[in-house]
Each structure stands twice: as C-alpha cells, then as structure tokens.
C-alpha cells in the first residue's frame, strides 16, 4: 500500500445530517399504503383516463337502487323488485368489471417493475404490505357492493309514511346490509386479487378475473339445470352464485324458485360458510405469493 499523499485528501463538512425527527414506523406505513391504494383504485391522483372505468362501473352498480327508490317514491313503496338481499343479482356485471379493471392494478405495478424491494426495506413486513393493499381494495370494492345496499335501506326508510314504524320493523336490514356488502366485497375482492397476483401481465389478470366471475355464472346455471343430483353442487363453484346465496343467508331469506340456489336446493347456510372459506383461501394464496416473491 503506497503511503497516503498528505495533500490529496481533505474532508469538508458539507453539513450532512442524520434524520433525527420522529419515525412513524410500521403502523403509519401500513396506513399510508392503504390510503394510497384506495385512492389509486378509483384513479384519484392518476390521469383522467384511469378514472373512467372505476367511476363508470360504480355508477352502474348504483342504477338499480336508484330506479327502485325512484319507482317507490312515484307509485308507492309496495313495489319491491330490487331489495338488499337480491341486489347482487342486479349488480353482478358492474362488480365483476370493477374487479377485472381495478384488481390487476393493486399489486401489478409493484410486481412488474420490481419495486417491492423499496417497500420491504422499510419497517413494513411482507404480510403488512399484502394485507394493507388487500384491505384497501376490499374497501374500494365495498363502494359498489355495499353502497347501493345502504342507499336502498336508508332510502326505503325515508320514503315510508311511518318512519318510526318502519325502523321498528326493518332496523335489522342495516347491520345485515353491512355484513352482506362487506362479505361480497371481501370474497370477490380477495378472489380477484389472488388471481391477479398469479398472472404475469395486467391483460391476463383482467381476462382471467372476468372469466372467473362471468363465465362461471352461465356454466353453473346450465350444470345445475341439466346435471341432476350431482350437478346441483355447481352452485357452490360460481363466485357470484355463492355470494348471492350467502347474502340470502345473512338476510334470512329463502331463495326464489327460479334462482339457481332455489333449483339447487342446497342448505342456504352452506353458501355463507363456503364464502368465508373462499375468502380465507384467497387470502392465504395472496400472502403466500408475497412470502415467496423475490423482492
């Protein structure tokens, strides 16, 4: 090693300082990731083109509720076609398209551009990241799944002649709607995220989620119709049929004879149980993916 040249090196004090302010830590990181993902799901803070699909689809999810309230206000409230327990039957296409459009964006960019290392080098843990983003997407999805139910329940209450009497008879619909709307958002949201994290491209994820929700509907209906004894179990394997049954179970209603649940004749509580199982399995798949992914 040559002797150091005494003139070559000089250390200047440039005034660099270590950060000694408050460190917000893991909880704040989770919270800000949650808020960021929730905003991104509706395209807030993104270019206008990113807002079109979520806003349009959410608006479509509200239309049946608005029509029901409008008709009830004009010709009296005894015409009840659209109700909180059968609402999914009217909003399934918008809900599926919301998932197909927004779910691939939740984890997609971070997986594709390998920005996960930036997150995981912070106090945030891997499961924190996955849980915060999943929770944010479920919250976003609750706008089209839960929002119209609350609108219907509150609107029906306000439209009735005898508000205290209505409250006495129908107060249960409020917690039931909350439970059903959140359950639909959780199961559909986690299911589509589980598909999205395993698809290498955004386009593949979108197509796969759309097929998962919308193709299983007619297939399950046909299998239940023609499949006989064993075919009726197909009603469990279409996510929307499962969730429709789960919503009926939450509201304590019996399925109509023309619905697939009525045709299948399976105990209605099984739909609720399987929906919860479905959500748990999807969450396990998401968590496993982020335990293993190379950051």
């Amino acid at each position: 090693m040559p002797p150091a040249d005494p003139r070559a090196g000089a250390i200047y004090d440039l005034g660099y300082r270590a950060y000694d302010g408050p460190r917000l830590g893991r909880r704040a990181a989770v919270l800000s990731l949650y808020v960021f993902t929730l905003r991104a799901a509706f395209g807030i803070g993104r270019r206008p083109a990113a807002k079109v699909v979520p806003v349009l689809v959410t608006a479509f999810a509200f239309i049946p509720a608005l029509i029901q309230l409008g008709v009830a206000a004009l010709i009296g409230s005894r015409v009840e076609v659209v109700a909180p327990w059968n609402y999914l039957g009217f909003s399934e296409v918008p809900v599926a398209l919301f998932c197909a459009g927004a779910a691939p964006e939740v984890f997609g960019r971070d997986l594709r551009y390998r920005t996960l290392a930036l997150y995981f080098s912070r106090p945030l843990r891997r499961q924190d990241y996955a849980l915060a983003k999943s929770a944010a997407f479920i919250t976003a999805l609750a706008v089209p799944t839960l929002g119209p139910l609350l609108l219907l329940v509150i609107g029906n209450g306000l439209a009735s002649e005898d508000v205290p009497g209505y409250l006495a008879g129908h107060w249960r619909e409020l917690p039931q709607s909350l439970a059903a709307g959140l359950l639909i958002a959780a199961v559909a949201g986690l299911g589509s995220l589980a598909i999205a994290v395993h698809a290498p491209r955004r386009a593949h994820a979108t197509a796969a989620i759309a097929a998962w929700f919308l193709l299983t509907l007619p297939v399950a209906a046909i299998i239940v119709e023609v499949g006989g004894g064993a075919g009726r179990y197909a009603a469990w394997f279409s996510p929307f049929d499962l969730l429709y049954g789960a919503a009926l179970a939450i509201f304590g209603r019996e399925p109509g004879a023309d619905s697939i649940q009525g045709a299948a004749g399976l105990p209605i509580a099984t739909y609720l149980l399987l929906a919860l199982l479905h959500a748990a399995a999807a969450l396990a798949l998401i968590l496993r993916r982020f335990q293993r992914v190379q950051a």
């Binding site: 918008p94 459009g101 386009a203 796969a208 046909i222 023609v226």
Partner: protein, 245 residues
C-alpha cells in the same frame, strides 16, 4: 396481406401459456354438451337447449366475445403496451397492411378455436334435432368473430385499456343493458351473430328466435366491420412514433 407481419403476430399469439387457457375456454361448451347428452332430464328439448342455452347463450354470449377480445388485444395491445410496437411501426411496411395482417391472424385464431367448438358441441347436444341450428351458429360465429376482432383491434389501437373497455362493451352493453333496452339489438355484435345464425333455421319463438332478422343482421355486421376496420387503419396511420398509446 403481409406475411412476415402475420407470422410475427401468430407467434405472439400462440407461443404463450395463456393460449392454453383460451383453448380450455373453447372446450367448455363441448364439456357442457356432453353433460347434457349424458345427464339431461327426459323432458329437456335438445333443440331449445342447443340453440338458446348452449350456442346462442353461452358460446356467442360469453365465450365468443371473450376469446375474440383476448386474441385481438393480444395481437395489438400487448406490443403497444410493452413499447415494442415502435420497432414494427418504424419500418416502411404500410400501416394498413399491419392492421389487416393482425386482424386476419387474430380472427383466424379465434375462428379456428370457436367454429370447431360450436360444431362439436352442437353435434353432441342436438340429438336428431334440426342440424341447421349447428351449421347456422358455426357460420355465424365465424362471421361474428371477425366483427368482434375488428372492433376490439380498433379499441386496442385507440385506448390503452382495450381489454376493460371491451369487457364493458361485451358484458354491460350487450349483456346487462340489452335486456332493458331492446333497441340495443341494432348495436350489438352478439345480436348480429345470432341474426346471421337465424338464416339457417326456422324455429318457433318458444324454442329460439334471434332478436334480429337475417338481412339487417348481415348488413349491419358488414357495415360495422368495414367502418371499424377503416377507423383502425386510420388511427394507426395517424399514430406517431413516441406517442404513448
């Protein structure tokens, strides 16, 4: 027809794992037809099931738009999204030829999957009913997939979210809304397809009846296909290198 571009597109579409999933999608109606053949209740009407549920409902209503959409966006949207479209667009190949070659390949891929699927599924399920139903839907699906492919190719060039926009069109407009507003049948490729199929059979309304008559369906399908092909060519001709699609 520009064969190098066509070959390139074919390799892009076929050399992928997702093509396997699309093949499974096309095999679904065959499986359902087998199930119907083996397990259907005795009072089921094979003609009604084949026309209304299997070919007119599931295949043209869900699988046809989905497969056409996947192939059309795969042939065009994918390399625009990746930014590799520039390498092809910067060559002196006329952009009209690029559009035509890609539409042709995407259509051939979709039709090569869906027409045999319709023929097989229909042949299994029809059980001695009017064979015109199967032939009609097979021919109509060949035509319908061309119109869908053209429209979705235009969508891939015009927007960056072609897949979601196509899903909105196929499921919200043609699916959910057309039940409420019957005039949508004049603006729905699904109804054009069903109308074209209707040239080959004449069933009572209780069994199956397309919402459009054959002649308007054929004319509208041809017009929509031609207009959107021109729009796609025009849009790509005006596409400037370096512009984010």
């Amino acid at each position: 027809m520009n064969f190098p571009v066509a070959r390139l597109t074919a390799r892009m579409l076929l050399g992928q794992r997702r093509t396997l999933l699309v093949v499974l999608l096309a095999l679904l109606p065959v499986g359902i037809a087998l199930l119907f053949r083996l397990a259907a209740p005795a009072d089921a009407d094979p003609e009604r099931f084949t026309a209304r549920t299997l070919l007119g409902g599931m295949l043209t209503g869900t699988i046809l738009p989905l497969v056409s959409l996947v192939f059309a966006t795969g042939a065009f949207g994918q390399d625009i999204e990746d930014g590799t479209a520039v390498y092809l667009l910067a060559t002196p190949v006329p952009r009209r030829d690029i559009v035509v070659a890609r539409v042709a390949v995407a259509w051939l891929a979709a039709a090569a999957l869906l027409v045999p699927a319709a023929l097989t599924a229909g042949a299994i399920a029809i059980q001695g009913g009017d064979p015109g139903i199967v032939a009609g839907f097979a021919a109509a699906i060949a035509a319908g997939s061309l119109v869908y492919t053209i429209v979705f190719t235009w969508l891939s060039i015009a927007t960056s979210r072609a897949l979601v926009a196509g899903l909105l069109y196929a499921f919200l407009w043609e699916g959910a809304l057309s039940g409420l507003f019957s005039g949508i049948r004049f603006l729905s490729i699904r109804q054009y397809t069903a109308g074209i199929a209707g040239t080959f059979f004449d069933l009572p309304a209780s069994v199956y009846q397309p919402r459009l008559d054959p002649l308007p369906a054929l004319v509208l399908a041809a017009a929509v296909g031609a207009v959107f092909l021109l729009l796609a060519v025009r849009r790509l001709e005006r596409w400037e290198t370096g512009e984010a699609a």
